[in-house]
């Protein structure tokens, strides 16, 4: 498996952005298509400036981008940073699974190589 960079400022921004429930709701809404700040503010009982603040965080994380249509700046979703974030989280979840796969391989090699030496080593350890 290809290791993934744990220290990555872009990914930090993605996870920080996702830690907030309002921002996750905004992303869920944007997965249905682009929307203006007004449209995004509607379901949240939140002021437009408050929503704008969340959009700034999301934009900085690269999860969304803002367009320009006349006076309106609709927000839309960008998938690339999410792919990286998912890959990282899956890697983390697989830490022990993959390590144990590697242990399994090692044990097979050891069994094939030195079955008798191991018994002796083990007795010496006691």
């Amino acid at each position: 498996m290809k290791p993934i960079d744990y220290i990555n400022p872009e990914l930090n921004a993605v996870f920080a952005a996702l830690a907030d429930p309002t921002r996750r709701a905004i992303l869920a809404r944007l997965s249905e298509g682009q929307a203006s700040v007004g449209e995004l503010a509607e379901p949240f009982e939140m002021s437009q400036p408050a929503i704008s603040k969340h959009l700034k965080v999301l934009e900085a994380s690269g999860l969304i981008a803002r367009g320009q249509i006349g006076q309106s700046r609709p927000a839309y979703l960008k998938a690339a940073p999410m792919k990286e974030a998912v890959a990282w989280m899956e890697q983390f979840k697989r830490f022990w699974g993959t390590s144990f796969d590697q242990l399994d391989d090692l044990l097979e090699t050891l069994k094939a190589e030195t079955p008798t030496t191991i018994e002796k080593d083990d007795l010496n350890d006691d």
């Binding site: 498996m1 220290i7 996870f15 830690a19 998912v86 590697q102 242990l103 090692l106 044990l107 191991i118």
Partner: protein, 159 residues
């Protein structure tokens, strides 16, 4: 803090316990398998209660450090250690990638032989964890339906 989430992972290995124990207790062998797809460098390994395991995982120019402090070691039966995320000086510090990942995990590994096979069971529980750390851990382990877990589900549906 009695409701700490516990991560449990077990696997049956088709090998006698003596051999599995050797792969865990010999740092040269441990470095071969510990850590997914990374180069593992074991800087110190003293497998006894009070001893330490200083571990570095490397990929490219990046390193991830952890300090394991053995609490209990029973030959071929059980290893218990406190697993600290650390900086390069082996001082406890947040995971640079995930600040809310618990910095201290009590890890218990047991070895049980049955018919020439060996069951290895691993348990991890956060220690001295903040509410945020506990939640982060639970959600990463798939235990709770909030916060990180939801963020992760969302990411998957969006892709």
């Amino acid at each position: 803090m009695t409701d700490m989430p516990t991560y449990i992972f077990s696997r049956v290995f088709d090998a006698p316990k003596a051999l599995v124990w050797k792969a865990w207790s010999d740092p040269k062998l441990l470095a071969v398998w510990y850590g997914p797809g990374v180069e593992t460098v074991i800087h110190e390994f003293d497998l006894r209660a009070g001893g330490r395991w200083l571990n570095e995982m490397k990929w490219g120019e990046t390193s991830d450090y952890s300090r394991m402090e053995f609490q209990e070691v029973t030959q071929a039966e059980k290893i218990v250690w406190l697993h600290h995320s650390t900086d390069a000086e082996w001082l406890q510090s947040p995971n640079p990638m995930m600040p809310n990942w618990p910095q201290k995990l009590l890890t218990t590994v047991t070895f049980v032989e049955d018919g020439g096979q060996t069951k290895v069971k691993l348990e991890q529980v956060p220690v001295d964890a903040s509410a945020e750390e506990a939640a982060c851990f639970a959600e990463m382990m798939g235990g709770m339906d909030s916060g990180w877990g939801k963020g992760f589900d969302l990411l998957e549906t969006l892709l």
